[in-house]
Symmetry: C2
Subunit: 351 residues, 2 copies
């Protein structure tokens, strides 16, 4: 396949108070460098992060105009002279991180997702001042370290949500030793949660789902949950006391779901990992709530390239699939509204 | 040595608002059972927990009259018919836990300190209703699982503070993989902190101490700290960003020392363990503060018998010593005042 002349256009937010009124703009991609790859975008998932950012929920300091989107799949159309991993025509993806410093300890130990100088895929600038533009557009340019091959047999629309939602739950499972004989709690059944249930099962764990009401019980069980717990019941946690090795939380525990009760369900020295990043602070907890079972409350930020490759391998082997709704990119505003109103089961993907 | 007729007397708090006015009372020990041991108390350390409890800081639901104290050393004077581990005359200690259920998963996996039905050494009742009386007295009765031999060559006064303060920092070090090549942060230089510095060094780690001011720098270095950081400096955390594998926090981070800045000093997936149990809630944190480096914020509760035996072994081998001030038990009110006013360097022990 020969190189293709790319059009650099994208749907941009201009005002956080009118975050659903995106306009198509032309943009200048980052300057081309030797390890860069140009990708023609076919699909881009809508992540909760997109809404947190464009509404100003994570802070009003937003780089406007802003083209969001970081669950990107497409085809390579051009490779820089130093690129070794990819060829023109290859099916690839880009996630929520577009660059890092390459030099720090995290970068050198497969923890580039924790590089202090990481560059996010949008709402960010490169060290040279170039703007990072997201995936609600026609094309993206990225260093090859932050580009990932999409496995054969996985369609590009279904692959897109793995690049942020899938990875965000897969990485903490790997890092916290989930596997056969372990019991996983998944809090929330949504874009992240529907992956967490499947990956938990795929890794050999028994999966217990916590959700506000029973409305998603059938779906959760179909995705692989062995148990479903509605947290609206005041005593929901009691039967699970000291039973879960790991909890992956994909819901906003600052609202509705009581963090302190969830913590009681952990085994001694069990871990509760916040995969969601709510706008608000976590509820203040008392040291006793951690001391009772020696629980650990942790955070996480996407995952490394190594983990992305492993995730796709597990997904193919164990048949983990995204559950998506596809809409044309021109309807991005309505699509964002649907995500904001929790109407999507379980991930919106723009074409 | 023959069995000795014990006197069961102790200094009791009768009113949380007059917590320093203890009165000597007679008390009835728990009913003797087959695995029980009677110990004539020689020394009892004053733990921060004693003050949290008797002032009502941990809750006004205090079982009055209350004999506090859970850093107890003395001699065995009587053993029940099923006791195998101890003999009359032996030098022993009792810590902050006096019983557990023996049947649950934690109890059966050397995590009896996390047994949901554990019985604290004071301000607690046994399942049969008997009251657990603490160590500010003449004697204590305990199941042999919660009695520990004091190593030869360690005096009973110096041994006492190991049984809570020492163990409380030693256990999370072991559980979180501290060892050679690791860097440990210790927050606070007091009863717990002075042990944490020494045990960190004894286990082969490089120790960085965080304290509000420079007033304890000399002591901290003498105890084994390689670095000393005064947290009053607004930018204190910057030079330590992503540098510490583990932090053991022995200070109240709800006041003064900013938890969110301390979290930035952890390596990727590093751990911050609250060894102190402040009266107040921890400051509310934002998920981003954990996500930036994938940090884990954990709690802990004393340690297991297995860990106590290991702790004493390390202490003897590496010459870890408590720094104590000894006062007669009749002056317990003044001694408690000194602890409350942070005047003790670093542990008060009653004789």
């Amino acid at each position: 396949m020969s190189e293709e002349k790319l059009v650099w256009k994208g749907y941009a937010v201009h005002d956080t108070s009118r975050w659903d009124q995106l306009k198509l703009i032309n943009f200048e991609p980052k300057r081309m460098e030797d390890y860069d790859i140009d990708i023609k975008i076919e699909y881009c998932g809508i992540c909760g992060s997109d809404l947190h950012t464009i509404t100003g929920g994570w802070g009003e300091d937003v780089m406007l105009p802003l083209i969001p989107g970081h669950e990107i799949t497409g085809h390579v159309v051009r490779v820089g002279p130093a690129v070794t991993e990819f060829k023109v025509g290859q099916r690839v993806g880009v996630g929520a991180q577009i660059c890092s410093c390459f030099e720090c300890v995290p970068c050198k130990t497969d923890n580039e997702n924790y590089c202090p100088d990481k560059v996010d895929t949008y709402n960010a600038k490169y060290p040279n001042g170039d703007i990072a533009w997201g995936g609600y557009g026609t094309a993206i340019r990225a260093h090859e370290r932050f580009v990932f091959p999409i496995p054969d047999g996985m369609s590009l629309d279904h692959a897109a949500p793995f690049l942020c939602a899938g990875l965000t739950v897969f990485s903490p499972m790997i890092r916290n030793g989930l596997g056969p004989g372990k019991r996983l709690g998944v809090v929330g059944v949504g874009g992240l949660g529907h992956f967490a249930i499947q990956f938990g099962k795929a890794l050999g764990a028994e999966v217990v789902v916590f959700s506000r009401s029973n409305s998603k019980e059938k779906d959760a069980r179909e995705l692989g949950a062995s148990h479903f717990v509605a947290t609206a019941d005041e005593n929901f946690a009691d039967p699970w006391k000291l039973k879960l090795d790991l909890i992956i939380c994909t819901a906003d525990v600052s609202k509705g779901i009581p963090l302190n009760k969830l913590l009681t369900t952990l085994v001694v020295n069990g871990r509760f990992i916040m995969a969601a990043l709510p706008d608000d602070h976590l509820p203040a907890i008392n040291s006793f709530e951690l001391a009772n079972n020696g629980a650990l409350l942790g955070g996480c930020h996407i995952g490394s390239k190594k983990e992305i490759l492993e995730m796709f391998k597990v997904a193919v082997e164990k048949n983990v699939k995204s559950v998506i709704e596809v809409r044309p990119m021109k309807d991005v505003g309505q699509a964002l509204q649907s995500v904001a109103n929790n109407r999507v089961r379980y991930r919106m993907v723009l074409k």
